[in-house]
């Protein structure tokens, strides 16, 4: 029996049936998002459910701006909830204190024309989860959520250069890990990507 219509509307956020339909549709996607930030499945579920409750609480503030706006708005809430969770919990928040960057000039964004081998989704996810929390957070914001350094700086209460530095280090770390993995595979070692 199906009670949901094809499109999500703001009214869905005001009824239990609508919330259930939205949950069933978006929970897997948002759980993946939260998992990218915290790296722990149980914590990710807690974050996602807190995020959904925040969505219910703040549903009156949502203003529809066309198709997809509801999803974008909910995603934003999920991200902020994830960030708040990282800040509020000791096992994460100690990694979110960034040392100030001394450089006076802006750090230029680098280009990368290298080619990378095909890596499965699980391997990519594991690579991200191996990143230190600070690197991972900035990398998630910048690469996967498409936030600018200015936005990231505001969200993480740091400078733009700090955000750029964290991103550079994250990229370097990931490149190094990918190269090592390539060589391991070349030499025929049975190295797995799982931790």
């Amino acid at each position: 029996m199906k009670f949901t219509s094809g499109k999500d509307t703001k009214e869905d956020l005001f009824s239990f049936t609508g919330i259930k339909a939205i949950y069933n549709r978006y929970a897997p996607r948002f759980l993946g998002l939260c998992y990218r930030y915290c790296g722990n499945r149980e914590d990710a579920e807690d974050i996602m459910h807190d995020g959904f409750l925040n969505i219910i609480r703040n549903s009156s503030q949502f203003k529809s701006r066309g198709d997809g706006s509801l999803e974008a708005w909910m995603k934003r809430i999920m991200i902020t909830t994830s960030l708040k969770y990282l800040r509020d919990h000791k096992k994460y928040n100690k990694y979110l204190v960034f040392e100030p960057v001394i450089e006076q000039q802006d750090i230029p964004d680098e280009e990368d024309d290298q080619s990378y081998p095909d890596i499965s989704q699980d391997q990519l996810l594991n690579l991200i989860l191996e990143l230190p929390v600070g690197y991972r957070t900035v990398f998630n914001f910048y690469v996967l959520e498409n936030y600018s350094h200015k936005e990231i700086a505001e969200m993480l209460h740091c400078s733009e250069n700090t955000s750029k530095t964290q991103l550079m280090r994250a990229r370097a770390w990931l490149q190094k890990r990918i190269r090592i993995s390539e060589k391991i595979e070349e030499y025929g070692h049975k190295e797995t990507w799982s931790r």
Partner: protein, 471 residues
């Protein structure tokens, strides 16, 4: 955002774009409980809960205010009727006619200025065995005010008493006789030979009756009943028109709803109501409960039971020194084995919903008889969901393992409004008691259930029976 191309970014961006993970069933059910609570709290805080209070206060205010207003507009100042004895009668003492409750008749006797005659609002009752024993026959002339409102009729009655020297005996005739002879003092009167007349005249007297004939045969003199039945007439007037009055009582309504999600179903409504009437118009407010049953469809996901085995719990060893043998003790416990296949079982859960119902009705009676009134009633009805109860909570999954329970029926909404219109037939059982029957039609402005897609609004037909007391 910087727009420079970065291969590593693209690799992760494309690879993780559709990353999805399934939440656990336990976490999902826990969240849905929290979401339900959150929605309830939000609805309460959204301010919808002041609506019932406002409706009650508004209804009561209209009710009481209307009653007070109408009562004040129809009330007239009380006038005392002085009854003059136009021709004196010689009495040794005072002559008192009846016991006064709301008015009195004062007789002015030139010889005995202090002589007074009191009447009991026109109900001058003389018992047959206590007939007045006087030397003179005293025909009574009763003047009843036909004008004015019934209150006046009830309160003020003028009586003219004519005394005849030849007959001083007044004989009561049943309960309608108009003199309380009990209070007459039977002292000899020294009257002139000619016919004397005691005229107890009302200020606006227009008609007089000879009470001697009334007393002798009251049935043939229905006018006399106008004195006796003034009180009843006043009640009749209040029943039909002119005077506001209040009725209150209990009601029960059987209702059948159409266009609801549970198909067509019955609803029982009962409660108390108060009605303020003024002429053919009425306004009523009630408070009651509405109880209905519904069926929620559940999907119960189970893993099939495959069998069981004895699972090793622990082992102990004891050295038997006599036999040089290590004695082994094995402890096991039964362990069920379930398959990983998910079976979906549909289960119907019987629910009972209780609503607080506050109807506000406006009415107009277009046909009125003494015992029967026919009119129309219409107005809004507000329903607030008070309680949800599961009638059958047990589900037997057998040996299968229940993985998840999902209620796929939409939730009930907490507040809905209805418009009601009906035909009201009121039967007057007695002076106090009234039975009303009212077939009516209701249109629900909101659906009973939460629905995402717009559907036709529910409507209902019902018949209401009310037992009312007329105050």
């Amino acid at each position: 955002m910087d727009t420079k191309k970065h291969g590593l970014d693209d690799l992760f961006r494309n690879g993780l774009a559709d990353l999805e993970m399934s939440p656990s069933a336990a976490g999902q059910s826990q969240f849905l409980k929290k979401a339900k609570q959150e929605l309830r709290m939000r609805r309460r805080s959204a301010g919808k809960w002041w609506l019932p209070g406002l409706a009650i206060i508004l209804g009561i205010g209209l009710f009481v205010g209307g009653y007070l207003f109408l009562r004040n507009t129809t009330k007239e100042p009380i006038q005392k009727n002085n009854v003059k004895v136009t021709k004196s009668q010689k009495t040794a003492g005072k002559s008192t006619f009846g016991i006064v409750t709301r008015s009195f008749i004062k007789t002015t006797n030139p010889q005995n200025p202090g002589t007074t005659a009191n009447t009991n609002s026109g109900q001058l009752i003389a018992s047959r065995n206590q007939a007045a024993q006087t030397n003179n026959h005293i025909p009574l002339t009763i003047k009843s005010s036909k004008k004015g409102n019934p209150e006046d009729q009830k309160t003020y009655t003028s009586v003219s008493i004519q005394t005849s020297p030849s007959s001083t005996k007044v004989t009561g005739q049943g309960k309608m006789t108009a003199i309380t002879s009990q209070t007459l003092e039977n002292k000899p009167l020294s009257l002139p030979e000619k016919k004397e007349s005691h005229s107890l005249a009302n200020n606006d007297s227009s008609k007089a009756f000879d009470t001697s004939s009334i007393l002798s045969n009251p049935i043939k003199n229905p006018e006399a009943f106008s004195v006796r039945n003034d009180h009843k007439h006043a009640d009749d007037a209040s029943f039909n028109n002119k005077i506001p009055n209040i009725r209150a009582g209990l009601y029960y309504m059987a209702e059948r709803i159409f266009n609801s999600l549970d198909k067509n179903k019955y609803v029982n409504n009962f409660g108390a109501e108060g009605i303020l009437r003024y002429g053919p118009y009425s306004i009523g407010i009630g408070i009651g409960l509405s109880i209905t049953k519904a069926y929620n469809e559940m999907v119960i996901t189970t893993n099939p039971y495959l069998g069981s085995y004895q699972k090793l719990d622990s082992m102990t060893y004891h050295w038997d020194s006599r036999h040089y043998y290590l004695l082994k003790t094995i402890y096991t416990k039964p362990q069920n084995v379930y398959g990983t296949t998910l079976n979906y079982n549909y289960y119907t859960l019987s629910m009972q919903y209780t609503y607080l119902q506050i109807p506000l009705t406006l009415g107009y009676d277009f046909l009125e008889k003494n015992w029967f009134t026919l009119g129309v009633r219409f107005g809004p009805v507000m329903s607030v969901l008070l309680q949800t109860r599961e009638l059958n909570t047990s589900y037997d999954a057998g040996k299968d393992k229940i993985v998840m329970i999902n209620d796929i029926s939409p939730e009930r909404i907490n507040l809905n409004w209805q418009a009601m219109a009906g035909i009201n037939a009121a039967f007057r059982l007695s002076h106090r008691f009234i039975l009303e029957l009212e077939p009516n039609l209701r249109y629900y402005f909101d659906s009973v259930n939460e629905k995402l897609s717009p559907t036709a609004k529910p409507w209902s037909v019902g018949i209401q029976a009310s037992f009312l007391i007329n105050f």
